[in-house]
């Protein structure tokens, strides 16, 4: 009992230490930034205190409704469309080799065109409204989800397929209860990649073709020589990115709890 408790204690200490390190590094970095920039007279690198003042003025909370919410809404809508389309199409292509053979060149061609490269065309066709941004995000983020879903579906254990056939499971049950969860680790990994692409695309589309949004605010601050305002927007992006990633990790550990548990057990 005693050695195990000691072992447990050591492990607990390690975890506390790691949690502390996770907090300490950003705190130290911010403190350094604050101190080193305090006396800065550079136009381009204003003191952090100035950036924070600007941050408070712009983002707490006067521009939340007009800029942050629309950005996040468009991101969510585009990401949701990409996830749905990527999973549905990916399952179809993964299960029907004829279909995937027929569409493979088209998929490879389209996927090679970065989402942001289509921005001028999207501006022409769809204008500067949310429809354009949502379409562009959906286009930019669908590929990793689509390709990972195909991979996941193709990698299904043949024994699982035999079990499903021998018990005469309905097509719907096979798709939703067997194939989808079996492919879910790859699908979720694709969604994670897609999310970071989505953030890039939304900011870029707002910088080029928009009248609001976080990207628009950052660029218009820069153009009106409000450098602290520009930095404040960039800080906001960092914070939002961190929070989105945190939320995604929560989603992932819920959806893939079986997968994580199984792997931890296998590692012993």
């Amino acid at each position: 009992m005693a050695p195990s408790a000691a072992f447990h204690g050591r492990r607990l200490n390690r975890r506390v230490l790691m949690a502390l390190a996770e907090v300490a590094v950003p705190v130290i970095a911010i403190a350094l930034w604050w101190v080193l920039s305090a006396t800065s007279t550079s136009l381009y690198f204003p003191p952090l205190s100035k950036i924070m003042t600007s941050f408070r003025n712009i983002w707490l909370f006067s521009h939340v409704g007009s800029d942050v919410v629309p950005s996040l809404e468009n991101l969510a809508a585009g990401f949701a469309i990409a996830t749905t389309a990527g999973i549905v199409l990916g399952m179809a292509l993964g299960l029907l080799p004829i279909l995937s053979d027929a569409l493979a060149p088209a998929v490879e061609f389209l996927r090679a065109v970065p989402g942001v490269a289509l921005l001028p065309a999207a501006l022409l066709l769809l204008g500067i409204g949310p429809g354009m941004k949502i379409s562009l995000i959906a286009y930019g983020t669908v590929w990793p989800i689509l390709l990972n879903t195909i991979d996941g579906v193709r990698g299904i254990d043949p024994v699982v397929v035999e079990v499903a056939s021998s018990y005469r499971m309905r097509r719907r049950d096979r798709l939703v209860r067997i194939i989808l969860p079996a492919a879910s680790p790859q699908i979720v990994a694709g969604m994670r990649t897609a999310l970071s692409i989505g953030i890039t695309v939304i900011i870029f589309s707002e910088m080029i073709g928009s009248t609001n949004g976080i990207g628009f605010q950052i660029l218009s601050a820069e153009r009106s020589f409000d450098v602290p305002g520009m930095w404040a927007g960039i800080v906001l992006l960092g914070i939002l990115g961190y929070l989105l990633n945190l939320a995604f990790r929560g989603f992932e550990s819920y959806v893939l709890r079986w997968h994580r548990g199984m792997r931890q057990l296998a590692r012993g």
């Binding site: 035999e162 499971m169 067997i178 079996a182 548990g261």
Partner: protein
């Protein structure tokens, strides 16, 4: 396990009453395409299994035992010949048949609890939700796993996982149970426990069982009839009625001189085949 009447009958339950064949395999052949060649695996198998009978198919590794089982299960199309289950030709997995696969860690769905794994095949049977849950509960109780219902399969030992797979098959209420080397991946003690479990299940559910194994002791211990397969392409070498008393017992049955005789006989048949094949 069984009542006294059955246990004094030296021929076991299947011969106790006149019985009808549940499964009839006639002149079944199977060849696989290897490159441009057709490689024959099964060379004309004819086999009958009666209602309530426990038949073991034994043969050397690579003799096509699993191929035969997959053909009977409707998972693999034979090259020629016919399979009748309850007088109905088998072209796809029949509704009155359940298969227990060797590799329990792959045949159970790791993303579902034990109970959900057992319920999954019941969803297409038109039972109400409540009835699905009840049937799964009964099947899990029959294999002694009521407590494990809410756990994930991978949290259980290998033997327990295979019991979940057996419970899933039982809940499906098949006419016949096909088992493909079901105890080959567990340790010896668990193995004999599972052997007795499946004998008990056969008795209490009156199930017909067709079990494939490469273990000679196991085949003689479990079966009412042992079917020895050998050769290339594989044919049925001999069918041996196992006239050991029921219920079987891991210690006393295996001490019977008759057990040793039967075991030696099966072993000789398989040895001869290995000598003939030069392996």
């Amino acid at each position: 396990m069984t009542n006294a009447d059955v246990s004094v009958n030296p021929l076991g339950p299947s011969q106790a009453q006149p019985s009808l064949p549940v499964l009839e395999v006639s002149d079944l052949t199977k060849a696989y395409q290897v490159g441009t060649d057709l490689r024959p695996v099964l060379g004309g198998i004819s086999l009958q299994v009666n209602r309530g009978e426990f038949v073991c198919i034994v043969g050397p590794s690579g003799a096509g035992k699993s191929t035969l089982l997959r053909c009977i299960a409707g998972l693999l199309a034979p090259s020629s010949g016919s399979i009748l289950l309850d007088r109905q030709p088998v072209h796809e997995p029949p509704p009155k048949l359940a298969v227990v696969f060797q590799d329990y860690s792959r045949s159970l769905m790791p993303w579902m609890s034990v109970a959900k794994n057992v319920i999954l095949p019941l969803r297409s049977k038109g039972y109400s939700k409540r009835e699905q849950v009840n049937r799964a509960g009964e099947a899990l109780a029959a294999v002694g796993l009521t407590e494990a219902a809410s756990q994930y399969p991978w949290q259980l030992s290998g033997g327990m996982q295979q019991r979940v797979a057996i419970a899933r098959a039982l809940a499906y209420e098949p006419e016949a149970l096909l088992m493909d080397e079901p105890f080959a991946s567990v340790d010896a003690q668990t193995r004999s426990d599972l052997e007795d479990l499946i004998l008990g299940v056969r008795d209490s559910f009156g199930m017909t069982v067709l079990l494939v194994t490469h273990d000679i002791d196991e085949s003689v211990y479990l079966a009412d009839r042992v079917v020895v397969m050998s050769g290339s392409p594989t044919r049925i070498r001999e069918e041996i009625t196992v006239d050991l008393p029921s219920p079987r017992d891991q210690v006393s049955t295996k001490l019977l001189p008759r057990f040793s005789e039967l075991r030696a006989h099966v072993m000789t048949l398989i040895r001869e085949d290995r000598v003939n094949r030069g392996t």
